[in-house]
Symmetry: C2
């Protein structure tokens, strides 16, 4: 005997305000007022209606309410990949703020693909969400986000900034963060410094090559990967260390295996780097694994600085020197900006830059002068 409760069929018709009104012996209008706390209702009738509602186990229909009053009390978050701790933590921050405001959050993963992001935004708009936090894949091709704004749905950018879109963005100063990390290595005496990172698929190798040689100009300061390369180049230039295309290795997101191969390619260079800057958390893990696989000692054989202060960076031996940021704060602040917009703030889009911190631990050490080129 199959339970009728387990599946979907068994849904008894849910009581409506009309049912409650009938039960309480009042009009629909009065029942609505008593339940919804609007308008004026007499105390006696209010209690009567409330009792009837309790008796019927009445629960309001949010869809109908949204239909009538326009607000869905729902926001959307379009992240790259929730299984990445960075976005998971950001989502946590967003949810916390949303809950405080009495909102819920719908999650969508874009996998760093613009078409998926576009489709997700479209669906979210159809669902009449009241705002979107998005980690955008493209910083120029933002028509779908502009459309959201035109429809009155505020957009807040997380992790990436767009020079084209007039929206709030919550970011870190990627260039400065990378510069600080690389400068740290340079000050320790390293001159031949490699860089390892993930880029998103839309990034052309050509673009990256130009970035690597410092001759990149992207409209309105763009995506983290490019900015971090810029910071790397700037630091190298400042200390008079030669840069070379062969020193910057990358792979597209989602292909961690390739990344490890790139790391190995770096180590196999005829003249291998004495230190490597891993510019994101995936690269940090890939580099660490590759170095370990080669049986190289950190920092004795090679120094490294990673990105993102994930739990494990203090668990490994040696604990890693990393650039730390706070995705939880990012999510929280992005959501706070979003709710300010939802409440009516229409000041020009603001670029909020959250601090990063170079946490010096033990994976980067000084280089003897004799070894320096």
């Amino acid at each position: 005997m199959a339970s009728t409760k387990t599946g979907a069929q068994g849904g008894r018709r849910r009581p409506t305000v009309a049912d409650v009104a009938r039960e309480a012996g009042v009009s629909v209008a009065t029942a609505g007022r008593a339940l919804g706390d609007y308008g004026r209702v007499g105390d006696a009738l209010r209690d009567q209606v409330r009792a009837a509602a309790a008796r019927l186990d009445y629960s309001p229909n949010g869809v109908a309410r949204s239909m009538r009053s326009g607000g869905t009390r729902t926001i959307g978050f379009v992240g790259v990949d929730i299984s990445n701790p960075y976005f998971a933590t950001a989502m946590r921050g967003i949810c916390d703020v949303a809950r405080k405001e009495g909102y819920e959050a719908i999650l969508a993963n874009s996998d760093d693909r613009l078409d998926i992001e576009r489709a997700a935004v479209k669906v979210l708009l159809e669902k009449q969400i009241e705002g979107i936090v998005v980690a955008p894949n493209a910083v120029i091709d933002v028509g779908h986000l502009q459309r959201a704004q035109e429809l009155g749905v505020p957009v807040v950018l997380l992790d990436r900034h767009s020079g084209v879109l007039d929206a709030d963005s919550v970011v870190i100063d990627n260039e400065a963060a990378a510069r600080e990390a690389v400068s740290h290595l340079l000050r320790l005496g390293h001159r031949r410094i490699g860089m390892l990172l993930c880029v998103d698929p839309s990034e052309s190798p050509e673009l990256l090559r130009r970035a690597g040689t410092g001759r990149l100009e992207v409209h309105g300061a763009a995506r983290p990967s490019i900015d971090r390369i810029r910071g790397y180049v700037a630091a190298m230039d400042q200390y008079g260390a030669p840069t070379a295309a062969e020193l910057i290795r990358y792979t597209v997101v989602g292909e961690a295996a390739h990344l490890e191969r790139e790391a190995e390619a770096l180590l196999d260079l005829p003249e291998p780097p004495t230190a490597v800057f891993a510019a994101d958390n995936v690269a940090t893990q890939g580099l660490f694994t590759a170095v370990r696989g080669r049986g190289l000692g950190i920092p004795d054989d090679i120094s490294m600085v990673g990105f993102d202060d994930l739990d494990w960076t203090t668990l490994v031996d040696p604990p890693l020197t990393v650039v730390a940021q706070s995705p939880m704060d990012m999510g929280r602040i992005a959501a706070e900006r979003l709710f300010a917009r939802i409440k009516g703030d229409d000041s020009p889009g603001e670029r909020i830059i959250l601090p990063t911190e170079l946490i010096v631990r033990s994976s980067a050490a000084g280089r003897d002068a004799v070894h320096t080129v």
Copy 2:
């Protein structure tokens, strides 16, 4: 001059089917049919309507659609904490399946608090979601979940099973997994084996103590923590190793600092254990940190087996022997069950047990016979 697009005010009225109909010079009914692909429309008029819709940049109002047709094409996931990689990965699995089905997912964090979970379920029901995946805090006090089922909203349990609720659940065999882990240590010759874990706040110490001595009887095989303790006790008994309350240390979730203290207490015992089983990923990290902090060698001074095969467990030295499960599969399978229910399957609730695997690496080693008690 503030942009009117950034904030919320600037929302121009969105075009409706009526607007499209007027633009195309047809009736609302015909426009609706042409846009919604239902009923019969002439080819000429269909194109005419589509063109008009494109001209107006029409996008359907999902709330109105849901209102009329009942379905919101939205499901909910009530997890404990999305910033925990376990739930983040599960959420990823859920989202993937949902997307394939043309659904979106709303996320709520319960922080392992029953009141928050209850409130979340209530809100989700008001929002008329079509199904819920939940990692429930309580396995007996499930009235809110039963209510969902009665309203025709299917519920699938993730990570935990309830003997009371007739719902699908996707779990691992926690007792067997723990038994396997502890047996591994026992076979290596260890006899004095500690256990470290997190429990949720609703778990009384009294209950735990009884679990520790193997005299626990919980209605319908309950929560992971209890089951894992049971598995520990079973293995110890099987090998004739004495158990003792002092060997099982725990803390409530969300208090990682306390956890490390408990780990240290374990190490400071007059007669310290020669091996420890950390029964969840937080405990694994806490134990590893504490052992490291004491300058003890793994596995020379103390052996350990962890739980959950997080990335970092292969990055540390030595790589950790762990019990691995697949939260991604869990999420995916839970969502698949949910959609089967949504589509009408009303067979009795099924308990799906996913396999776990003891991944033997290098954190547990043999114990010389002479040292054995």
